[in-house]
């Protein structure tokens, strides 16, 4: 039986095929007009090339940017919304805060490109009382039907229902949904208590509106892809990577596409975590460097961190869904270096993309990029990029850096090129810090794991900048993200608002928590049943989101398994104090703690892709792997004759001292002087200071 991972990126679609015969990779340009075309074509090709019958494919795991791209390109569905009378503009006012402090000409994305236009936000009479949750004013059902008539007239078929206090009682939202479905049987409907059953109206409505905004197109894409695969004779199960790092079914994602807005980068983080496990490193910081951006994630103890949903934004809109804790910054191979009007030296976030691309691509790009700097420094060989598939023009790279940076700043070209690399590394290092040190994580206990084709050129510099302990280079850095797709579990997540003081002496507390846990358990079980998961393969875990009474932000602590007792409650309280101290450096140990919500996570283990070990090598491998020697400039400014090696020819346990450059099909690794690279059991590699 075989499995395929498909990672669709902005430039390329990467395929990984895992079968009894081994593990195979394939790459196609992304079919931007419909990602499905390239996906179907590529799966056919990778099977054919490796002599695998498509009927042998048992499962396809897919990371997609379809939903994300809708939010970037602003081409989602025209939506209608039903909302509580008197509160028509919650989505328009948002949190009434401007994106910039010092600007008069600022853009307000939620007003200039609203998820739902005001004309289509229809207020209806209804009211749920707070904090009791009782119905105070019944729902005006006639008004709901009248709104549907207007939506029909306007050709709207995607509907959002967001009522105040629905997290206390969803009865009105559910009734309104039923009426909409009656009136508009083909409509795509999202109700707020379904997608984000928590307090804070703006964030909840925004999440709901985002679901209906990306919903119809994303659902169409996913179902169309499933149909095309069927038509091509590929009848295997199709699973989609979610933002939280778990995979889910086509139908579940079609209903809640807000869960796959970060489907793209999630695979990379999982791939990095799996590589960490393979290298027997519990603590890794993954740095996935692409053309325009770098995704950075801190993984302590081999466990992916999921963001507090209060911190999750997509395209300027809050979206309260679990997402892997990663930061994305505008730093990649295509990031443009420039000198601004007051003479400061900047790199990024603007990028040359793949068209025209860096100056060295020779496609008309005149602005110097990070890739150009790598060429000038002799770290990327013009004749060996992407395994020689892409020829680079060193003269264009040098010219761009000279004219745009070196001459204006009165520097040598090499000095300017080195500056570009050091600034971009510094930007990435700061982002790493914001995702690690800023949360009380000590990078000295972590390995940097760089990937993406150019990632391993930056690995050692980043490790030095953040004082990480060493660098782990994955087996195949260019496709680590695609590999990650085959290393994850099925995962569902549900939240139940439960606002109550946490008091060990409160005899009713364990029962209430148990009740909410039971509800979550039922929903998770239903999801997993639908997927036909064997009960023995399931795992259900629960977390409590707590805060000190009167605070505004919750922190998450695990709920110990088993029956909820007074001890469990005490345990949650203590764990919360500790978490608060860890995150903020202080705990109010005497202050009362309040529970805000319970979160349930249901996972089912899928078979993980396993990468075979390579044979033990000998120091003689170094000679076999030797390609040629060229001058290369390192971060300390020294230019040294630096040998190049074919990484695929190095056996396990072979060590190699810098200066050296390791070349493989889809990536280049830099080993500076003073560092040593050791090949590990799977062909992965550790680089550390000697």
């Amino acid at each position: 039986m075989a499995r395929v991972g498909v990672d669709v990126g902005g430039t390329n679609t990467d395929f990984v095929l895992e079968c009894e015969e081994g593990i195979f990779y394939h790459k196609l340009p992304t079919t931007l007009e419909n990602q499905a075309l390239g996906v179907v074509q590529g799966i056919g090709e990778i099977c054919e090339r490796n002599g695998i019958s498509i009927s042998d494919i048992e499962m396809i795991v897919h990371g997609t940017t379809t939903a994300t791209n809708i939010t970037i390109e602003h081409n989602g569905s025209e939506c209608g919304m039903l909302t509580t009378e008197g509160f028509r503009d919650i989505l328009h006012v948002a949190r009434h805060k401007r994106p910039h402090n010092f600007s008069l000409h600022f853009d307000v994305p939620w007003q200039s490109r609203p998820l739902v236009k005001r004309r289509n936000r229809i207020p209806v009479t209804e009211r749920i009382a707070a904090p009791s949750g009782e119905v105070e004013i019944p729902l005006d059902e006639a008004a709901v039907r009248a709104a549907c008539a207007l939506f029909r007239k306007r050709g709207i078929s995607s509907v959002v229902v967001g009522f105040l206090f629905s997290f206390l009682n969803p009865i009105h939202e559910r009734r309104a949904r039923d009426i909409v479905v009656e009136e508009m049987p083909d409509a795509y409907v999202t109700i707020s208590s379904d997608v984000a059953n928590v307090m804070r109206e703006y964030e909840r409505f925004s999440t709901t509106a985002m679901n209906s905004y990306v919903g119809p197109k994303t659902a169409f894409y996913l179902r169309d892809l499933a149909a095309r695969l069927q038509a091509a004779g590929i009848s295997s199960r199709l699973r989609i990577m979610q933002s939280n790092g778990g995979i889910s079914t086509v139908e579940a994602c079609a209903r809640k596409p807000v869960n796959i807005l970060m489907s793209g980068p999630a695979g990379g983080v999982i791939g990095g975590a799996a590589e960490g496990e393979m290298a027997q490193e519990a603590n890794v910081i993954t740095v996935d460097i692409g053309g325009t951006s770098a995704d950075i994630s801190t993984i302590p103890d081999g466990r992916l961190k999921v963001k507090n949903v209060r911190d999750t934004y997509v395209a300027g809109h809050p979206v309260l869904t679990p997402m892997i804790d990663l930061v994305t910054i505008g730093a990649g191979g295509g990031s443009i270096a420039f000198v601004d009007e007051a003479g400061a030296f900047n790199v990024g976030p603007r990028s040359a993309g793949s068209n025209p691309g860096p100056a060295c691509y020779g496609r008309g790009g005149e602005e110097p990029t990070v890739t150009d700097a790598q060429v000038v420094l002799g770290r990327l060989d013009p004749d060996h990029a992407l395994g020689g598939a892409l020829k680079l023009d060193a003269d264009q790279a040098r010219k761009a850096i000279k004219e745009k940076i070196a001459d204006p700043l009165g520097m040598e070209v090499e000095e300017a090129a080195l500056g570009i690399v050091r600034i971009i590394n510094s930007n990435m290092a700061l982002a790493i810090r914001s995702n690690s040190v800023a949360r009380g994580v000590d990078p000295r206990e972590f390995s940097i794991m760089p990937f993406g084709g150019a990632g391993p050129l930056h690995g050692v510099a980043l490790a030095e900048a953040v004082s990480a302990k060493d660098v782990i280079v994955p087996v195949a850095p260019g496709i680590t993200a695609a590999v990650g797709l085959l290393k994850t579990d099925l995962q569902y997540e549900h939240t139940e608002a439960l606002i109550m003081p946490l008091d060990p002496g409160d005899e009713a507390a364990p029962g209430r928590i148990e009740g909410a846990t039971e509800l979550l358990r039922e929903r998770l079980t239903a999801d997993l049943d639908e997927d036909g998961i064997d009960p023995s393969l399931r795992s259900l875990t629960f977390a409590a989101e707590c805060r000190y009474f009167g605070q505004g932000f919750e922190l998450r602590t695990a709920v110990p398994p088993g029956e909820i007792t007074a001890e469990t409650v005490s345990g949650i309280i203590d764990a919360f104090h500790d978490q608060h101290e860890l995150d903020y450096g202080y705990a109010y140990r005497d202050a009362p703690v309040e529970l805000i919500a319970l979160r349930g996570i249901g996972t089912a283990q899928s078979r993980r892709l396993s990468i075979p070990k390579i044979g033990k090598g000998s120091q003689g491998d170094v000679e076999t792997a030797y390609l040629f020697t060229r001058p290369t400039t390192f971060d300390d400014g020294s230019t040294l004759d630096t040998p190049r090696y074919d990484r695929s020819k190095l056996g396990a346990e072979v060590s190699l001292k810098g200066p050296a450059i390791l070349i493989q099909q889809n990536a280049t690794t830099l080993v500076p002087p003073g560092y040593e690279a050791v090949t590990l059991d799977h062909g992965n590699m550790r680089i550390r200071a000697i």
């Binding site: 028509r88 503009d89 510094s426 700061l430 109010y588």
Partner: protein, 596 residues
């Protein structure tokens, strides 16, 4: 400091190290702010994020500040100078934590408490880590906010250079004093603890930076970053033709003397690469709290005006670092004894509207020479409302919220609706959060559609309407402005609409009592509802030039009526078909252009 290092270091830090240190500064400031609002308990800090945090050198220059709310940005140096005048023991020790809020010793206003931690490097005081945050209640004359009070002593506890910790030892006396002198002691104490955690974190990060790069490099880099910000500001100022530019407006009243409006006169003098904001001709100081502390607020607002106008973050390719440098070419003048520079012991707590109007008038004054940079008149006020009552156990509940306004039309886009304006940039308090903790109920919160926004090729923004109902008896104090003078239109754009405030009881919705823009300690009964409407912004450019499709969109969105579209914009619509009547519009616009 190491002498050898002193002489060996070149005069300039290389551009790369400079960017690395700048990035570190900015990350530290944001981290400090993050910890503060995440930890805090009062909604004005945790939800509204009415706070500022940063690092400062020993000469009180700002090295970095968090991008929180602009009124706090640039205010902390004033606090530091004020602390120096009154510092307990007369000197700083390692482990000290100082609290300060005295408006006549540099504070922005009394409710903004500063917490300052000194930073020592190799045994020497090299700088400070500090933050400011708005506290709900510091025991002033009325709960939460004050307007009509006799003097500064009615503002509550005044703290000047007071050590909460001395050499790491808590000063229990002052903690006890603070706890006994607030209506909301738990919020006050917990939030001060959050401020301390944030300031200590900043101090630790500052020390790490000094250890890593050395004192000299860090401070040289800071100096260079200040010079850089100054250089950009000077370049921008020099692009404005030399000259004297004026604009005037007026404020409703001082919160006590209802018949007297208060003039604001702004003169902007541009000479080469320097500029002076002269407020001479503005009202004399007033006998209520409606005055502006000069160091902590007037100057801070004038600096901000030029950052917005000349270093617009949206238009600039690069971000200018948030430090003192950009302030150096700007001089601020306000006669002592005027509303912008009051003499002790006048109270100066309710100062926001004056600051915002001053910025708005700086923009108006420069409109003739900067037509592509200015925008039409914004709401340019602030509505801060304090609701309070006493629970059965004798304890107070107090809720303070900031209501938003709107922006004027702009050269390339409409003014944003329902948004904090100019110096304000807080976050609103979620309606659902309010109802879970406070005996209040929000009855209405949406864009105000009772009055059209200022018409123009680019229309002004709409203000909001917010109706808050109290469920118990209690009192309300409201600090607001602009019930009289509407935001101005420009270049053919029309004026927006003034604000308003009313009170009624939920049981008799038709029975409205009109309220002044400022009032203190208004007694309210259960189910009384205060309804506030914030001003609509002015229009930019001729309404007849507005794209008809945008006018149709505005009418469909309910921003104004089809009649208004026809009368002011000259656009005729078919509302059933939801289309523009193209030929009718063309004819109507030609008629209007001819003055028919």
């Amino acid at each position: 400091m190491n002498d050898a290092l002193d002489t060996a270091t070149p005069s300039d830090i290389d551009p790369i190290t400079l960017q690395v240190i700048r990035g570190s500064f900015e990350t530290i400031a944001e981290e400090m702010a993050h910890v503060l609002y995440r930890m805090s308990f009062s909604s004005i800090i945790r939800e509204s994020q009415d706070l500022g945090a940063g690092l400062f050198d020993a000469a009180y220059n700002t090295l970095c500040e968090s991008e929180s709310t602009p009124m706090h940005i640039g205010s902390i140096p004033g606090y530091l100078a004020g602390i120096e005048e009154r510092l307990e023991d007369g000197e700083w020790h390692e482990g000290d934590v100082v609290i300060h809020n005295h408006p006549y010793h540099g504070a922005s206003h009394a409710p903004d408490l500063a917490i300052i931690v000194p930073v020592f490097h190799e045994g020497k005081l090299v700088g400070f880590s500090g933050n400011t945050a708005h506290h709900i209640d510091i025991g002033a004359a009325t709960p939460g906010l004050i307007i009509d009070v006799p003097d500064v002593f009615a503002e509550g506890m005044l703290l000047a250079g007071v050590k909460l910790y001395r050499r790491g030892e808590a000063n229990q006396t002052i903690w006890n004093f603070m706890r006994r002198n607030s209506r909301t002691p738990d919020l006050l104490i917990s939030d001060v603890e959050a401020q301390i955690a944030s300031a200590r974190l900043g101090a630790r990060r500052f020390s790490e930076l000094l250890d890593k790069y050395g004192e000299r490099t860090v401070f040289r880099a800071a100096d260079q970053l200040m010079d850089y910000a100054e250089r950009i500001m000077r370049q921008r100022i020099s692009e404005i033709p030399d000259g004297e530019y004026q604009a005037e407006g007026y404020l409703d009243d001082d919160g006590r003397n209802r018949e007297t409006t208060l003039p604001i006169k702004v003169t902007v003098r541009v000479t080469g690469d320097e500029v002076e904001v002269d407020l001479t001709g503005s009202a004399d100081q007033v006998p209520t709290a409606f005055n502006v502390p000069f160091e902590g607020s007037t100057k801070v607002a004038a600096f901000a005006a030029f950052r917005k106008l000349l270093l617009d973050a949206e238009l600039a390719e690069t971000r200018v670092p948030s430090n003192q440098g950009s302030f150096r070419p700007i001089k601020v003048t306000a006669p002592l004894g005027s509303i912008f520079n009051p003499k002790a012991p006048a109270s100066a707590s309710a100062r926001f509207a004056q600051c915002n109007r001053m910025i708005d008038l700086v923009i108006k004054a420069l409109a003739p020479v900067l037509p592509e940079r200015v925008i039409a008149g914004s709401s340019a006020v602030l509505s801060a409302a304090a609701y309070s009552g006493v629970r059965d156990d004798g304890s107070y509940w107090v809720f303070v919220e900031i209501n938003e306004g709107s922006y004027g039309g702009r050269p390339r886009s409409d003014g944003p609706d329902g948004i904090d304006s100019l110096m304000a940039n807080t976050r609103n308090n979620p309606i659902e959060d309010l109802a879970m903790h406070i005996p209040m109920k929000c009855e209405r919160y949406e864009l105000r559609d009772d009055m059209p926004p200022g018409a123009g090729e680019f229309r002004g923004g709409l203000g909001i309407v917010k109706a808050q109902r109290v469920l118990t008896a209690g009192s309300i104090t409201h600090e607001s402005e602009r019930h009289l003078e509407a935001p101005w239109g420009i270049f053919g754009g029309q004026d927006g609409a003034a604000g308003s405030c009313t009170l009624h009881n939920y049981a008799s919705p038709g029975d409205l009592e009109a309220l002044h823009s400022k009032f203190s300690g208004l007694s309210v009964q259960p189910d009384d509802v205060m309804t506030y409407r914030s001003p609509n912004g002015g229009g930019y450019g001729d309404p007849l030039k507005r794209t008809p499709a945008k006018v149709l969109g505005d009418v469909l969105d309910g921003f104004y009526s089809a009649d208004h579209a026809r009368d002011v914009y000259g656009v005729l619509l078919d509302l059933d078909a939801e289309t523009v009547d193209g030929s009718g519009t063309e004819a109507r616009r030609m008629e209007m252009a001819r003055g028919v």
